[in-house]
Each structure stands twice: as structure tokens, then as C-alpha cells.
């Protein structure tokens, strides 16, 4: 009955939709660059996110090396003070918004559907849109180097430094518009992934059975949903001030620079957890796998993550202890900041307890994960020392802060994301990265990292202020700065070895034995499907009966609670299926919309007339999107008969952004007998 109903529903849509004309005929490419630029497959989008973020990592890294070279010796004038301002600003903006966040988004995109047993994300085309907008925004930001110089106001761009009086070049405009564009991408992606987690889980995949990575990524998306609009408002006010002559941050008109600080940090502090929570998720996947034990205190891990998500909103003003807010606010935020260390500590102890008594294999991902826990602990402890307001007023804006946040962001987030790259690489590409090169990569990175940022604690306590362009000889900064600079180059070498590893391992992949579904003997659902996974992920959709379901399909427990193999891996993984699963069709429109946005941005900065073609592109993209059915109408063949029965059918959705693709989770689960 329902089938008939569906069919009558679909047919008009399939017939009535005219084939869009000319260059924008429906993309059909399955291979080559066309397939990539039009893809709506969350795995390809995840890989593109990863590649783009690593590209920006290199740019940000080069900026860092120039900064460190400038600081290597006293009284250096390798670069001008002005260029130096632009470099440290763009380094931070690039690393935070164009590297760490998107790299985490890469894993969230790639893994969430696989870990919850879904065919795709909730809105596949929106997913493509968010990637292309991010890339457009990232490139837009970096073109500022060629169009008058980058932003020079520090990554938090405090007013009045960022007002047109003190920063007359277009750098800050690029900063504002660029972050607005990438922020749009983050918001779109966050809504999409949050809906995916809430709605698309496989049968039996309750919230409390979800892998911790998915949990942490979900909390991250919720943080983004609430944090992005606040920075949006702040950036818009700043841009209005700079280009349209408003006075939001003009003190002579009665405005208050603290407004910027509050708005920025109400976004900015949750942002810190947006960066670190996915990394916590990664660590929580890698450590149990290589300890061959379930994650200790799963519930505590999840609730600690959620608690961090909530508490992250109550601590923003600890960035402003030196701003003169008044003693009561300072005391309140000091206390709340100390409290947020509690859930973080819970996580660290749970990781240690997971390691305890485990059968540990020190593979490269495991080394990264363990190192990330250690480095994050150091960063966390120096963080607690900032929560004490009197100490903070001494430390703030010194290199002690620089050391702190690099230990948290690089030591915690980046190291674990590198572990994630090694861990999930065989899943995504079907071959392993070399363990030997990986160990070189790891040790050089870790040693270089500590050499670079360890000495900064000392420099900070000695009084070297942050954003110092150069310093005099003989005031005690020389030695440690040189060490830090040497460390930075060691670190860069370590990172480069990752690229070497990718190149070498890719060249060697043909001569390696295939990795199979489950190269690490891992625990979560993504290891149940082939490496790389088929486009439709699961066939059939698995029914989840436990936390770490995949593991318990392979292993039972003896009377002492030790893992005992009960089934061969090959018997529990999904064999390569050839069943036709109906998937959402590729689309050009996300790319068209994303292309329009930087054009609007250039228009707002240089010439308002340029806004018109940009807007036209966006509107055309949205129109094309909304008339394009999200699915290709079936071109029937015998193999497609079954797919036509599936209730996901070609798109009958009319409204913009309304997609039904990949909502067929339960339909293809194979539990009930298929119709017909």
C-alpha cells in the first residue's frame, strides 16, 4: 500500500523535473576530478576536508617558521614589525579555523555515519556545501596576502586595534568576511551532523552505545550551533564599523571595547572545546583499541564531555581577567574555570584506567594518543594556573600563555588528530601508512614540539611578552628563544615526514598485502565494512546489540573477564556486496553557491557592485539546488528493481535545503522481509 502511495508521489517529480540545461546537466561522473567536485558522499567530503586542512596546515606552519626565525636571535630584523603582526595573526587564524577545526570536521564527516551505522549524513548536499564554503572562505582569507596584507590584530582582533584607525589596510576586513564565510560552513555542517547523530542511528544504536568519538563530535556540533552566531554578530559589528562608519567600538562615541571582548570570548571559549573535544573522542577510540580493553568508565567519559560542553559557556571571561571587569566577575569566572578542570581530569584518569592492565600495542596511532594525553595534561595544568586571577594578570599576554595554548591545541588536539590520521588511514584508503616512518614522524614531532613550546613557559615567566617582534640582547631571552626556534624546525621536519610517509606508503601500496576490513582488531562499526568502505557504507545496516558491538561479535569473555575470540573477523565483517543501494545524486550546486560567497566578500571590501554577481551566483545556486531532485531518477535495469522499492526514492522534496537522501537507514536494514 505504502509502495503505491510512494510511487504516485515520485512519478510526477521524476517526470516533471526538466533536465537542467547546458553546463549544469546532472553530473554523472563516477571517477576523476568531476566526481570529487560534485560528490555528496560523506567519505569523499571527509577526505577533501582532510586534504584541504593539511594544505592550510602547511601555510600556517610556514608562517610559524618565519615567526620563529625572526625571534631566533636578539635585535633581528628579518621581517618588519608590520609583517610580523600579520604573520602571527594569520598563523593563528589559519591554524584554528582552517586547520584544526576542519581536520576534526574531516574525521567527523568521515566517521559519524560509519560509526552509527548510517548510509550517509542527514543532508548530503548540505554536507558538500559546507565543505566548499569552508574551502572558499579559507582561500579568500589567504588571498589577503596578495591584496594589501593580512589581518594584523591578533587572532582575537581586539578593538580598537582592529578598527580602521589603527588597522587601515584591508587585512581585518578579510579577517571578518573570511571568518563569516567559514563560520557559515561550520554552522551548516554542525546542524547537518547533529541531525545525523540524532536521527540516523542504526537500529539498536542508542545514544549510550555510540562510540565516544561520535559523542564528542556531536557535542562539538552543538557547541558550534550556539557559538557561531555570537562571533557572527561580533564580526558584523566590526565590519560595519570599518566599512560603513558605525560606531560600535568607537570609545569617543560612548562605545565599549569590552563588548567586543565579551562577544568574542563567548564564542572563543566554547571554540577551545570545539577544538579539543573531537581530539578527546579520537583518544577514546585509539586507546581502548590498542589496549584491547573496553573504554574505562564510558558513561563518565560521555557525561564529562557533555559537562565540558555546558561548562565551556560559563568560563569565557577568564580570558579577560586583565580587562578590568570588577572583582566579583573575576572571582566568579576564576572559580568556574577551576571547576572545568574536573570533567577534564575525569577523562584523563579514565584513559589511564583503560591502559591499566591492558595488552598494549604501541603502534603509531597509540603513541600519538598517549603522547596527546601527556601533553594535554601539561597544557591543562598550566591552564589551571591561569584560572587564578592574580597569577593570570602576571602571565597574560606573555609567552607563558603561548606555551599553554600550544600544549593544549598542538599537544592535545593536533597530536591526537595525527594519531587519528594513522589510525583511520587504512580504513579510508585501503593501505597502511608505514609504521617505521610513522615512528620517525612521531618522535621528531614530539621532540620538536616540546623543544619549541616548553621553553616558552620559562620565557613567559621571565616576562617576554606575547607578540614581541624582537628583543634586546642580554635580557635573558636569547638562549631559550634560540632553542624554541631550533625546536620549531625539528617540528616542521617531523610534520614533513608525515607527507613523506603518505607519499612513500602510497607508492608502495600495490606491493603491500591488502589491509582487510579490520587491520587493528578494533571495536566500532566502521571496521565492519570494507577498506575503503563502499559508497553505501553498510549492506545490510547492522543491528546493534551492545556498546562496542563489532568487538563483541568477535570476542566473548571467559570467567575472568578476559577477551576470548568467539568468531573469526572474516565471519563478522560485511562481505563486499554488489547490491544496488540507492544513493543521493552528485550535484554542482553546492560548488556554485560556495563560489558566490567569496565574490560577495571581495565586493563588500573593494567595490559594492561586485556583490551583485556574487549574490546572483548564490541565488542561482540555491534555485538550481531547490529544483534539482536530490536523487537521480532510476534508470531501470534488472539490478535496480529492488532499489526502486525502497522508500527513499528519487527526491520529491521541493523546498530549498530539503533533502531526503540517505534517510533510508531503517528501510534497508534487512530486518523485515522486503516488499515484493
Amino acid at each position: 500500500m505504502a509502495v503505491t502511495e510512494r510511487t504516485t508521489l515520485e512519478l510526477p517529480a521524476a517526470i516533471a523535473e526538466p533536465e537542467p540545461l547546458g553546463v549544469f546537466a546532472r553530473p554523472r561522473a563516477k571517477r576523476g576530478w568531476r566526481a570529487w567536485v560534485t560528490t555528496v558522499d560523506h567519505k569523499k567530503i571527509g577526505i577533501m576536508y582532510g586534504a584541504a586542512s593539511l594544505f592550510f596546515f602547511l601555510i600556517g606552519g610556514i608562517e610559524a617558521l618565519i615567526i620563529r626565525s625572526q625571534l631566533a636571535v636578539p635585535n633581528n630584523d628579518l621581517i618588519s614589525a608590520d609583517a610580523y603582526n600579520q604573520l602571527f595573526t594569520m598563523h593563528a587564524v589559519t591554524m584554528v579555523f582552517l586547520f584544526v577545526m576542519p581536520l576534526a570536521a574531516a574525521f567527523a564527516n568521515y566517521l559519524i555515519p560509519l560509526q552509527i551505522g548510517a548510509r550517509d549524513v542527514a543532508f548530503p548536499r548540505l554536507n558538500a556545501l559546507s565543505f566548499w564554503i569552508f574551502l572558499a572562505g579559507g582561500i579568500f582569507l589567504n588571498t589577503s596576502w596578495f591584496l594589501g596584507g593580512g589581518a594584523d590584530c591578533g587572532w582575537f582582533c581586539y578593538v580598537p586595534n582592529s578598527t580602521v584607525t589603527f588597522s587601515p589596510s584591508h587585512g581585518v576586513d578579510f579577517f571578518a568576511i573570511g571568518l563569516l564565510i567559514t563560520g557559515t560552513a561550520s554552522l551548516v555542517s554542525a546542524i547537518n551532523l547533529a541531525v545525523t547523530v540524532l536521527n540516523m542511528r542504526a537500529p539498536g544504536m542508542t545514544l549510550m552505545r555510540m562510540p565516544v568519538f561520535t559523542w564528542m563530535a556531536f557535542i562539538t556540533q552543538m557547541l558550534l550551533v550556539f557559538a557561531m552566531p555570537v562571533i557572527t554578530v561580533a564580526l558584523i559589528l566590526l565590519f560595519f564599523d570599518r566599512r560603513f562608519g558605525t560606531n560600535f567600538f568607537d570609545v569617543s562615541e560612548g562605545a565599549d571595547p569590552l563588548l567586543w571582548q565579551h562577544l568574542f570570548w563567548i564564542f572563543g571559549h566554547p571554540e577551545v572545546y570545539i577544538i579539543i573535544l573531537p581530539a578527546f573522542g579520537v583518544i577514546s577510540e585509539i586507546i581502548p583499541t590498542f589496549s584491547r580493553k573496553p573504554l574505562f568508565g564510558y558513561n563518565f567519559m560521555v557525561f564529562a564531555g557533555a559537562a565540558i560542553g555546558f561548562m565551556g559557556w560559563g568560563v569565557w571571561a577568564h580570558h579577560m581577567f586583565a580587562s578590568g571587569m570588577g572583582p566579583l566577575s573575576v572571582a566568579a569566572f576564576s572559580v568556574s574555570t577551576m571547576f572545568i578542570a574536573v570533567p577534564t581530569g575525569i577523562k584523563i584518569f579514565n584513559w589511564l584506567a583503560t591502559l591499566w592492565g591492558g595488552r598494549i600495542r604501541f603502534t603509531v596511532p597509540m603513541m600519538y594518543a598517549v603522547a596527546a594525553v601527556a601533553m594535554f595534561t601539561i597544557g591543562g595544568l598550566s591552564g589551571v594556573s591561569h584560572s587564578i586571577a592574580p597569577a593570570d594578570t602576571q602571565q597574560t599576554d606573555t609567552y607563558y600563555i603561548v606555551a599553554h595554548f600550544h600544549y593544549v591545541i598542538f599537544g592535545g588536539a593536533v597530536l591526537s588528530l595525527f594519531g587519528a590520521l594513522y589510525f583511520w588511514w587504512p580504513k579510508a584508503f585501503g593501505y597502511r601508512l608505514s609504521e617505521k616512518l610513522g615512528k620517525w614522524n612521531f618522535w621528531l614531532t614530539l621532540i620538536g614540539f616540546n623543544l619549541t613550546f616548553g621553553p616558552m613557559h620559562v620565557l613567559g615567566l621571565q616576562g617576554m611578552s606575547r607578540r614581541t617582534w624582537t628583543y634586546d640582547r642580554g635580557i635573558g631571552f636569547d638562549g631559550w628563544n634560540l632553542v624554541a626556534t631550533v625546536g620549531a624546525f625539528v617540528l616542521a621536519l617531523g610534520v614533513l615526514l608525515f607527507l613523506v610517509n603518505v607519499a612513500v606508503s602510497t607508492a608502495r601500496r600495490k606491493s603491500q598485502p591488502p589491509v582487510g576490513h579490520d587491520p587493528w582488531d578494533a571495536r566500532s562499526l566502521e571496521w565492519m565494512v570494507a577498506s575503503p568502505p563502499p559508497e553505501y557504507n553498510f549492506d545490510p545496516i547492522p543491528h546493534v546489540r551492545a556498546r562496542d558491538d563489532f568487538w563483541y561479535r568477535k570476542y566473548g569473555e571467559d570467567e575472568f573477564g578476559r577477551a576470548v575470540r568467539i568468531a573469526a573477523t572474516d565471519d563478522v565483517v560485511q562481505p563486499g556486496g554488489d547490491r544496488h543501494v540507492h544513493l543521493p545524486a552528485p550535484s554542482y550546486w553546492p560548488l556554485v553557491i560556495a563560489l558566490g560567497m567569496p565574490i560577495i566578500g571581495y565586493g563588500l571590501i573593494f567595490n559594492l557592485w561586485l556583490v551583485v554577481p556574487g549574490l546572483l551566483l548564490v541565488v542561482a545556486g540555491m534555485y538550481g539546488w531547490s529544483i534539482e531532485p536530490p536523487d537521480e531518477p532510476e534508470h531501470t535495469g534488472p539490478a535496480h528493481q529492488e532499489a526502486a522499492d525502497q522508500p527513499d526514492g528519487p527526491g520529491d522534496s521541493g523546498g530549498a535545503g530539503d533533502e531526503s537522501g540517505a534517510a533510508e537507514v531503517s528501510s534497508a536494514s534487512g530486518e523485515e522481509a522486503p516488499v515484493g
Binding site: V3, A122, I191, P229, V230, F248, E253, S660
Partner: protein, 210 residues
């Protein structure tokens, strides 16, 4: 298989939609699109929260001699606020008609909602023009900047809502808004009610609070 999904739908009390509704069963019982709209609106709360906070902080810092709230024509804005609130009523009627499968009345009430929304926007444009003539420009003071930015963002949201409503009417005229897709009307309705509720807050905070 569609039967399976339909069975799941009817077994989930949470769904509570009419029979024949989108058969995609989701884990929350709320369709993807509707959940996405809820999340977007949650996000938008923070946007207006930040804008309203900005206004509240700045209205008290107006330098002496500058034009302030005394310029507001509260009776006029009350009427246009009332018009906007009535559009929520017509939106409810449109959603109800869509759920009944009554295409004609759906279009009628959608058009009424769009018209009321347009009247509100017209009122806002008129109001802005009057204020501008009386010397309250966008860049006159931090008060005026905050005022125009806040109410302007709200106006942009209403305008976006009107575009959605008109799109729905066009879809319906083309026969692409069958009863099975009544949820699309409902989702636009969510957005519309949100924009109305936000206006109540803005009207109270900006115009009424002395």
C-alpha cells in the same frame, strides 16, 4: 519495505503525524528537516541574543544631546507589531489547512501571512524613513547603529520568511505541495513563529522598556 517504515512510523507514538506522512522513520521521530530547522532556530536565538545585548548595553551610553528613544512612535509600532502577531495566527491556519490537504485554503492563508508580514516590513521601512528624516541615521550614534542593526536583522529575517512563504505558494500552485508534504509548511511555520516571538522580545526591550 516502505511498509516496514510505515509500520515503524505508526508504532512510534512520538511521531504522531497523520497517516501518509513522509515514511522515513528517524530515531527521534522528528524528520531530518524539522530537526535541522529547530537547530537553526536555536542558533538564531544566540544571534538575536547577542544583538539585543549589544543594544541594551549601548542604549544607556548615549551621549547627552543625541537623539534617543523619544523619537519612537509607540502607537504606530504597536499596530505593526499587532499585524505581525496576527500573521502567526494565519500561519497556524495555513499549517492546519495543509495538514487537511486543503490546497486552496493553504494558499489563501499562506498569502495572508505573507501579506501581513509585508505590511510589517512596509511599516518598518516607513518608520526608518521617518527616523532618518528626523536625524537618526545608521551611523549617527551607537544607539542608532545598535537600533538599526537589531531591527534590521529582524526585518531581514521577516523578509526571508516572506520569500519562503511565496515559494510555498508557488509550489502549491504547481501542485508540488501535496498533503504528504504538509510538513514543509509546518517547518516554514516554525521559522515564522520564531521570528514573531523574537519581535515580541525586541518590541518590549527596544520600544516599551523606558
Amino acid at each position: 519495505m516502505a511498509e516496514t517504515a510505515t509500520a515503524t512510523v505508526s508504532s512510534q507514538a512520538a511521531l504522531g503525524h497523520e497517516a501518509g506522512h513522509d515514511p522515513h522513520a528517524t530515531r527521534t521521530g522528528i524528520s531530518n528537516t524539522k530537526l535541522a530547522m529547530w537547530l537553526f532556530l536555536a542558533s538564531d536565538c544566540l544571534l538575536f541574543g547577542a544583538l539585543i545585548s549589544t543594544f541594551l548595553i549601548y542604549e544607556g551610553r548615549l551621549p547627552a544631546g543625541e537623539i534617543g528613544k523619544e523619537i519612537f512612535d509607540i502607537p504606530f509600532t504597536s499596530v505593526s507589531s499587532f499585524v505581525l502577531l496576527m500573521s502567526s495566527l494565519t500561519m497556524v491556519l495555513a499549517v492546519a489547512a495543509a495538514h487537511r490537504g486543503d490546497a486552496r485554503n493553504t494558499r489563501l492563508w499562506l498569502a495572508a501571512t505573507a501579506t501581513l508580514g509585508s505590511v510589517f516590513i512596509g511599516g518598518q521601512i516607513y518608520e526608518f524613513t521617518v527616523f532618518y528624516r528626523e536625524g537618526l541615521g545608521f551611523t549617527t550614534s551607537i544607539f542608532s547603529s545598535a537600533f538599526y542593526t537589531l531591527t534590521g536583522f529582524h526585518g531581514a529575517h521577516v523578509t526571508g520568511g516572506i520569500v519562503m512563504l511565496v515559494s510555498l505558494i508557488v509550489l502549491s500552485l504547481r501542485g508540488k505541495l501535496p498533503m504528504e508534504k504538509a510538513e514543509t509548511v509546518e517547518i516554514v511555520g516554525l521559522y515564522w513563529h520564531f521570528v514573531d516571538v523574537v519581535w515580541i522580545v525586541i518590541f518590549a526591550v527596544v520600544y516599551l522598556v523606558p
